[in-house]
């Protein structure tokens, strides 16, 4: 095998979205020489698509807000399955992370007294989301990107080299995390533009690769969301947590077909938009579950009064957590009360003057006008659920973001599991990226400079050769018989998306998930024969062929865990087990690679590539439990937990 270029860094961050960039900034400020590696151009990460805002209990609009209220809302939203220490750290630290962005140049929308404005969102008791119109993610990414550039400018003044201590490898992909014994030793990467392989040697690797939505047909996610970090962790020997929880955002575009799934921000409802069925009825009033009855309005009049007088009225049920709204829309469509293109109606046109809509929801106005010929200031939008976010992810230590079972591996953002429990509240994602991105960068840098710093892990030549061979396989793929045509990676991808969408989607049934596992096994066999034309220079077919491995691994985790969990909770709805079961609250499902050597030979449907184990979580700390009323806790906690 030809010699592969190697570079030495202290910390390698995989992914350049909100979590990755925040991790990189922190690691560099801690003194670690830090490399960021990302599949797209710098500044294009999926975070730019976040619309509504960053949840942080600054109390700028309603001074009743504080971290305890935010913590409570987060646990309710996640149906108490959250890794509670993460939810606590998140609620406590989010305000500082937002304010810090202002010192780096971010410009949020303002309150009349000049503070950062905060808006209402589903599941949040008070107006809590710092925002910039409906393009908050863009502001977040650009601010972090510009902070990175400013650190590089510092390095240029000091060392004459912008990239002396912080370098972004853009349009590069990591295919393997390399190890020396049980320690991380670096990453194997290829440059998308040239196809050239290279190795970044580093004792600490932070995975911040985002989610898995590209395994589903209808999704709000971009092409990058192929579960790379989830798969890299599995292959390196780290477990994934609660992969059955996948969030279907209630409002994606449903028409025209080519834009199906593109996100319609929750801010539309937060700012007053209402959901109606084909009979014109605001159906969400029929779908308030028992656990939330006390918190939501019973009549349209009360719900409408809440926007102006939130202290004396309850919020409208359009602002229930996303899982509830998505299921309700699904049920309405199924009952024959859907819109012409199979969604329901989301209307702001009768709720706000046109100028207000254009000012508060500019990109929604633009998006519908340009892509669907719909003027949202004059008519209702048609919307339906779209695969949006995975709550499951790499199992991490709450405080340090360290992945379990692999020394030197860290994870932050969507790729990490636990924080959001069974369902994430809108706005809690951007704050999650900042809080745990910073923590991952901090602890990765400390570890890299720590006691073992003189004894850096060594990159094993054999692992590099194996990784290179794996990456090149699509160029020599053959069909089932010698000389026959290899599989088309695009076709395989479409079949995978259809399978996950139809069989492990928003409403799940045992037989369908078993069928999905069989289909996944068939696709795994065929994916090994995925072939590509052309050469290694910027070849999308090749890139997709390599991403298929990750999507298949992650899809199997989702299907297996979903089959195992015989209850409905948050982003996991079983038609055959429709109720939430308090006994399941303490159960976490961990997925590990069946072959601990990182091999991928197993193709049998029943056996598969993933081992699943059930573990019991540690009890919630008493002072945090004390933030809730007893009557509420009995709805979630098992008997023994209540009286411990």
């Amino acid at each position: 095998m030809a010699e592969v270029e190697r570079q030495q860094w202290d910390v390698v961050v995989v992914g350049a979205g909100g979590a990755g960039l925040r991790a990189a900034i922190e690691a560099r400020e801690q003194g670690a020489r830090t490399a960021v590696i990302c599949k797209s151009l710098f500044g294009k990460a999926h975070t730019v698509m976040a619309e509504g805002g960053i949840a942080a209990s600054m109390g700028n609009v309603n001074s009743g807000d504080n971290w305890q209220v935010h913590f409570r809302d987060t646990l309710r939203g996640g149906k108490f399955l959250n890794q509670w220490r993460m939810a606590e750290l998140h609620a406590r630290e989010a305000p500082d992370r937002v304010w810090e962005l202002e010192t780096w140049g971010a410009l949020f929308d303002r309150t009349p007294d000049g503070r950062i404005s905060q808006r209402n969102f589903g599941g949040h008791e008070y107006p809590r989301l710092a925002h910039v119109g409906d393009r908050t993610g863009l502001e977040l990414i650009r601010t972090l990107q510009q902070k990175i550039v400013s650190l590089q400018q510092e390095d240029f003044r000091e060392h004459g080299d912008y990239e002396a201590r912080l370098k972004v490898f853009q349009e590069c992909t990591v295919t393997r995390v390399l190890k020396d014994g049980d320690r991380v030793s670096g990453t194997f990467c290829y440059d998308r533009e040239s196809g050239r392989f290279f190795v970044l040697e580093a004792p600490a690797v932070v995975l911040a690769t985002g989610g898995i939505g590209k395994s589903f047909k209808v999704t709000s996610n971009s092409w990058e969301y192929t579960g790379d970090g989830h798969a890299l962790a599995l292959l390196a020997g780290a477990p994934l947590l609660n992969m059955e929880f996948v969030q279907f955002h209630p409002t994606g575009m449903v028409w025209p077909p080519s834009v199906k799934g593109i996100l319609v921000t929750e801010s539309v409802r937060g700012d007053g938009g209402v959901l109606r069925n084909s009979e014109g009825k605001r159906f969400m009033f029929d779908y308030v579950p028992d656990v939330f009855k006390a918190k939501y309005a019973q009549s349209e009049e009360e719900g409408d009064r809440w926007y102006d007088d939130p202290d004396h009225n309850r919020r409208p049920p359009e602002l229930l957590p996303r899982d509830e709204v998505a299921r309700a829309i699904n049920a309405e469509v199924k009952a024959g009360r859907g819109s012409p293109h199979g969604g329901v109606f989301l209307d702001v046109s009768t709720r706000m003057p046109a100028e207000v809509i254009k000012r508060r929801l500019p990109s929604m106005y633009h998006q519908f006008k340009e892509l669907a010929d719909v003027d949202i200031t004059a008519e209702a939008m048609e919307v339906g659920p779209t695969c949006h976010y995975v709550m499951g992810g790499i199992a991490v230590d709450s405080d340090t973001a360290a992945a379990r079972e692999v020394t030197g591996l860290y994870a932050a953002g969507e790729v990490a599991g636990g924080m959001h429990g069974s369902n994430r509240l809108g706005g809690n994602s951007l704050s999650d990226l900042l809080v745990f991105g910073r923590r991952a960068g901090l602890h990765a840098a400390r570890y890299a400079a720590g006691p073992g710093a003189d004894d850096r892990p060594r990159v094993d030549e054999v692992q590099v050769d194996t990784a290179a061979a794996e990456a090149l396989r699509p160029f020599s793929a053959e069909g089932p018989e010698d000389g026959s045509t290899p599989e088309n990676p695009y076709t395989l991808h479409q079949e995978l998306q259809q399978t996950m969408n139809d069989l492990v989607g928003i409403i799940r049934r045992e037989a369908e998930m078993a069928q999905a596992l069989e289909k996944l096994a068939e696709l795994r066999v065929r994916a090994r024969r995925a072939g590509v034309e052309g050469h290694r220079q910027f070849n999308p077919g090749w890139h997709l062929a390599l991403d298929l491995r990750n999507m298949l691994l992650v899809s199997e985790c989702v299907a297996r865990a979903a089959l195992e969990r015989t209850e409905s909770r948050g982003g996991h709805t079983r038609e055959d087990h429709p109720a939430m079961d308090r006994e399941w609250r303490r159960a976490n499902l961990l997925c590990r690679l069946a072959d601990p050597t990182g091999g991928l030979a197993a193709t049998d449907a029943v056996r598969g590539q993933i081992d699943l184990v059930r573990v019991t979580t540690e009890p919630i700390r008493p002072d945090l439990l004390a933030l809730f009323e007893k009557e509420e806790l009995v709805k979630y906690l098992a008997e023994e937990e209540l009286y411990e």
Partner: protein, 256 residues
């Protein structure tokens, strides 16, 4: 309108050369140019190189020239063309081709580094920033920029004048200077940075002769010329010819 077969010409090649390749390809109701490029990849040209991410006009990755006009492929509806019309897709002309529709946009990242970052005001801690909405409106308009670089591609100062690239930051980064200059709390001046002077002397503001080509192609509808470049020119000129301001800046700089 249902499906029809469209005729496409797509530029294929690399830095060594290339040319337009003909395709006949299915088009369905509601589709955009990027959908068609993806269908070409999936069915006829699996190694056709193209950049894209969000497919919703938010990330600015899928910039190309469609029938000679710089546009985002994800926001260009097929319905704007007649079924008989040949649709020609070529890479951005102002940047070197890498492969097919992918160009080397490194110029933009190099220019981004030349603009000094936001300088936080001294004595104001995190959480203590107070700004009025009217005072941040203008800079917020510029921060809507999705960095698609269509303005950089279309600007005649560099579009066919490679030799100007060294001295000219382009509309996107002149607008970045304007954004920082109009930021209510930017303390650059206190640290000896004169953003207006730099716009003129270091970023080539003088090359811009306000033909508004950049504004016309901006998919975010940012009034780059009217709201960023012209005001920046006015402020730079005031600064240049106002002897009191000039003297003041000399004294302050000397004190540093």
């Amino acid at each position: 309108m249902s499906s029809y077969e469209a005729r496409f010409k797509v530029w294929r090649g690399d830095s060594a050369g290339g040319g337009l390749e003909d395709f006949a390809i299915e088009v369905n109701e509601g589709e955009v140019v990027l959908d068609i490029i993806h269908r070409l990849q999936a069915t006829q040209a699996p190694d056709l190189a193209v950049r894209w991410n969000c497919k919703a006009g938010k990330c600015g990755s899928c910039s190309a020239e469609i029938n000679g006009r710089p546009r985002l492929m994800c926001m260009t509806r097929m319905s704007v063309f007649g079924p008989e019309e040949v649709v020609t897709v070529t890479p951005l002309r102002a940047f070197p081709v890498v492969r097919d529709l992918v160009t080397d946009v490194g110029f933009n990242y190099a220019k981004a580094r030349e603009v000094p970052a936001f300088v936080p005001p001294e004595g104001l801690g995190a959480g203590e920033y107070r700004m009025q909405q009217v005072d941040v409106d203008r800079s917020q308009e510029f921060r809507k920029c999705i960095e698609c670089f269509l303005c950089q591609d279309t600007c005649h100062v560099v579009r066919d004048h490679e030799e100007n690239k060294g001295a000219f930051a382009g509309p996107r980064f002149l607008m970045r200077v304007a954004e920082l200059d109009m930021h209510p709390l930017d303390a650059a001046a206190d640290s000896g940075i004169d953003r207006k002077r730099a716009a003129q002397d270091e970023h080539g503001l003088g090359y811009c002769n306000i033909t508004k080509c950049c504004t016309e192609v901006c998919p975010e509808g940012i009034k780059i010329t009217d709201n960023a470049l012209i005001p920046l020119k006015e402020r730079a000129v005031d600064r240049k010819y106002d002897p009191l301001v000039w003297l003041g800046s000399r004294i302050r700089r000397r004190g540093k």
